[in-house]
Every structure is written in structure tokens, then in C-alpha cells.
Symmetry: C2
Subunit: 334 residues, 2 copies
Amino acid sequence: MNATLKDVANRAGVSRSAVSRTFTDGASVSEKMRRKVEKAAEELGYSPNLLARSLTTRRTKMIGLISNNFHNPIFLTVFDQFTKALQERGLRPLLVNLSDETDPQNSVRMMREYSVDGVIVASSTLSPAFSKAFRDQGMPVVHTFGQYSSAPSVHVVGIDNVECGRMAARSLVARGLTHVGFMGGPIAATSTQDRHAGFAEIIAQHPDIACDVSYADAYSFDAGRREMMRLAQDNPAQAYFCGDDVLSIGALSALRDCNLSVPDDVGIIGLNDMEMAGWENIDLTTIHQPIKQSINSSVKLIVAMLDEPNRYPEARIFPCDIVERGTLRPKAEN
Amino acid sequence: MNATLKDVANRAGVSRSAVSRTFTDGASVSEKMRRKVEKAAEELGYSPNLLARSLTTRRTKMIGLISNNFHNPIFLTVFDQFTKALQERGLRPLLVNLSDETDPQNSVRMMREYSVDGVIVASSTLSPAFSKAFRDQGMPVVHTFGQYSSAPSVHVVGIDNVECGRMAARSLVARGLTHVGFMGGPIAATSTQDRHAGFAEIIAQHPDIACDVSYADAYSFDAGRREMMRLAQDNPAQAYFCGDDVLSIGALSALRDCNLSVPDDVGIIGLNDMEMAGWENIDLTTIHQPIKQSINSSVKLIVAMLDEPNRYPEARIFPCDIVERGTLRPKAEN
DNA sequence: GTTATTTTTGCAACCGGTTGCAAAAAGCTG
DNA sequence: CAGCTTTTTGCAACCGGTTGCAAAAATAAC
């Protein structure tokens, strides 16, 4: 079928090593030889088999791209950026959908079977047990959107969710509200827990502010809508910090159906600043997460780890900022 | 590092073939041998290297999943479904982002280098030259969301876009409108051309109906919004068939900003029925495309082709139907 | 308990590449 | 042109598996 090294060698009348050398950069081949081989390769339409090569070089140039989040539109951007950034460096993403997988060992085995050079875990809801399991196997791992901790056990790239919680709380406090709400994402996710911790920390400094806390069971429109439907029935807060933009949009839809006006009756602040948040029919005030920076940094990090597998784990944290749009009343002018 | 076949063989005190056989189903091994080998493998944490295996079996169990559409949220669903369907069958998607690639030969080489077992092209906007290039290399190919033709040169799975155009036109005609519009996606996409052909065919049967035709330059919110902004300035039609749901949502946003009410001043019918179309703050009337069916069918087809590479090309077309929501006035009761 | 038949096992070659090493070729010096 | 150095080339072993074939072991038949 496809031409092999041997075919090219025969046609060019040279040894197999010579052919191999013309196709590996940095190898010693004379100009004359190179031309001869390239001509034969051209004629046969030869291209080297990277998997066979990987057997000796121990590099497949494949990176496991692992996520459990295939419902939040923000992740389409995430996949777009990751694939591009990896491709630019000659790496190929082997995509793994962990939506309904609970056993890290399974994924570890899968990645080992395919000898990926490294693994990128892209999720804010996946248990850290997954990234640790990969590390324990000696694979380079980066956990993008993972939990920031001052002593990370694997490389983490993303944002400081605790600080985001604080930011959201501060911005509600600055508006002089007396009754606020935290409507988080899945309670099991570290991102939810951290955002809540930061939010609660600031609110606790203001004993006069009442704070309701509740959680949606997924980062999805429906979950956000359902949860806000429930909250709206019974003395809703003046404004909510929602787990993310998709939840916020779900909540907005619920508020509209309950005839509560936004931002006058109820304000909403989201998190992510996904493209859709800026759409005019949504116009969501939200905390911008620097996705692009996180992804580029993650890819650079995984590339660095290929040459330096035992690199000391670090956390790369990018700052967020609030994008004011139409779902939160402007601050009172002082 | 990782245990190999040989390590297991040594530990179990048997030949390498014996180990290999216990890990390939259908091979002849005695119970006693199997237990011995499995014990040793267990102790060493051995799992076979699928890439080395592929060298002799000529099966990598990797499928190239190729798309150029990383902006339309519908494609997150697409990737979700594809990855799940492939994983269920023990196949792994090697994801390729072709957003800014124009040369099919590049992609072909890449897929060859990685010896993928087959290629799924998932796009309604990618030139057929890509799927053909893969086929010409002898790779099994399925073009999902590709152009339906009665004599397809590669396997195509999806919908009949011409018929969708007709459906949309008929539904506008049935409403007694006298001025309608076709606001298509990128003009170069076969899906756009086909939808327009069907739409125009029906409208042509009604000489009393005026029809405007225009195109957005991408399947994106912004493009839809921009195009509708333009249309709304100057005698807009009573209703538009938009290229897809994302374009429709962009158009809705523009209409709102122009103070045109939907559906009273201007009606909109989209295509896809993405999850978001059902969100209460969007509530888009649209033509439902059976994505899930197309994807399952595509995966079954590619699997079938693994055993039967020269299978005669077929087109698998699934019917669409209109989902009536709030952006198109109900039909007049007769 | 032999012998014939079936099942299990190991040997060795192969899949498509890479690479250390030594021989051959080319380039320098004088 | 001999003698030395450097570059280029081919040989052969290896990467981690599979598999056809024949020998060995187990089972069945008499």
C-alpha cells in the first residue's frame, strides 16, 4: 500500500539508514544523497510513519486533550484554541471525552496505550484525582482551569477562583445592596467551592448584608434556569453572582418568565465572558476569564515538560476583570 | 519505564508470544498460561502499546476527526457525540482543526503519518476536495454534513439541504407573505447554495412573492447581526430564512436594536434547532436537523468501512422538520 | 499403554522506523 | 601522493509488538 522506507531505499539504490537520515533533521547526509532520496520519495509519495518512528524516538507528538465539559459553549473556544496552539507546534490532540467516566485508571491506561507525550486536562469540574493519576504514571500533565493552590501537585494554569468570588462580592457590596445571592455551579467542583469561599469571605465583612447560597447541578442553561425559577418564587436577592455565564443566561431566562426585570428587580453577574455574553440580546455583566492566555500558557508549559519531565510543579494564574454590561445596575455615583 | 511485553514474559517465565496471545482476543492460550501471564502483567502494571501493535495489525484504532467549524456552538454537541460514539467502539478521535488550512494535501499527509484507520470530515462548509483527497489516498472517509448528491463520490451523511430550503419557503408561503428573504451563510458553502436552490425553487412558483437574497460571510452571531443590520435599513422582508440558528440569533439581535418587533414586523426561521434555540430568551422557530442520528450513522459507517474499504459510496440522508416557536407568526387559521 | 488427533507453546521473522559503530569516502596538509 | 582528519554511508541491532509454522504437550481413541 503506502510506500515505506525500504521502498524508497530500493528505488534510490541506497541503504535504509540513508533514507531515514534524510527525514530526520539534524542527521548527517550529503547534499547529493539527500537529493537522490528526496527524488525517490517524491516519486513514491512517501511520508514517514510517525508511529513506527515513535517506537525508537519515544515521541509520538500526540497530546491527550481531556475534558468532561462538552455542553458549555465556552469549551468550543477552548478546543479551538487548544487544537490550533498544539498544531502550530507540530503536536496532535487525541481528544478524550470523560463526560461519564469516573475511574481515572481507565483514562490513564488509555493514554498509556497510545503513548501520548503528555496530557492536558481541560476542566474546572473534573476531580484533581485525574490529573494526579497521570502524573503518578510519570506523564507530563497540565491541568488547565484546575484548582489554584499555593502548593500544587501538578501544573495548574488558570485563574484564582477565590479572588473571582471576592471580586464579584465586592462589586455587589459597592452597589450598596443589602441582600445578595451566590448561585454556584456543581457543588462538587473545586471552582464552585473556591468562588464561594471568596464571595463569602467578603460578604462576611458586612454583617448588614444578607446572603443566600445555592447551587445548580451543572454548568448549563437548564440548570441555571431551573435554579433561578426556584429562587424567584420566594424573596429573591437583589443580585446574584452566578457560577458562570451559561448559568447566568439560564437565570436571566427564568427571571424574564417570572416578570422580574433585570437589573432593576434582580441583578446578575456571571463569570467567563464568553462570546455570547456580549450578544446584544443577552448583554451580561460578567467577570472576564483570560481563556486565550491560559491556553497558550498551558501549551507552552506542556511543551517545556517534554524536555524536562520532572519540572517542579507550578501554578500559572492570570488575573480576571469585570466587564460591565447591562445585567447589573451601575454603581451609584458618589 | 513502562513495562513491556518482554518484561512480562520474563517475569512469568514464558515466551513473548504467550504474553502477546493473552492480550489479543481470539488467540489460543490455556487457562493456566493466561492466569500466569495476567498475574505478571498485573504486578508490573503492564498494558500493551497499541502503536507498536498497529505496526503489524495495521489498525491504530484512531480516527481523524476533521473540522473547520470551531465557532458555531452546535459543533460542541457534534464533538461531544462523535467522541462518545467513537469511544464506545474503542476508537480514538485525533482532532484536526482546519480553520485556516486550504491545502488538502497537508491534511492528507498528516493523517497518513499517523496511520489513522479512517477519517470523518465534519463540516458543511469545507470544500469536498478535502474528503476526496482522503479517499484518493485509499483512506475510509465519511463526510458528515456534506453535500447530498445522487451520485456521491465519498460517503456522505446528513440532510438534504435543497429540501430544507423548500421547507422553509413553503412555510413562509403558507403564511401568505408577499415579501420574503433568504439570508444565507457563506456563499461558498455547498450547504448555503443548496438551501438557496430549494428556497428559490418554491418561491419561483409564486410570482406574486418578492424575494430578497443575501449572504452573511460566516456562520456566526456577528455576521448574522451585521447582515440583518444592513437589511433592516431598507425595506426589510416580512420574514427571513436564515442560514442557521446562530445567524438567526444574530439577526434577532439586530432587529431588536432597530426596534423591529419579531415576529410581527419581521419573522425569522432558522436551521439546526441547536439547544440554544429553545432557550426562552431566544425561542427561535427553526428547522430541526437530526444531528444525533447523522453522527451515529456516520460512526457506524466508518466502522463498517474498516472491514470493507472499497464499499460503494452512499448518501445517508435524514429528514428534517420544522419546530414552531416564537419567531414566526403562526399560520392563519383557515 | 500406544498411537492418532487436537491444543498449546516457542522460535524466528517481520511490521516501519532509528541509531551506535565501524568501514569507506572525501577533504586537507605538506 | 602518502598520511591524517573529517564527513558520509551501511551494517546490524533494536524499539514493542504479532504471527506462521513446527515442535511439544495434552487429550482422545483404541
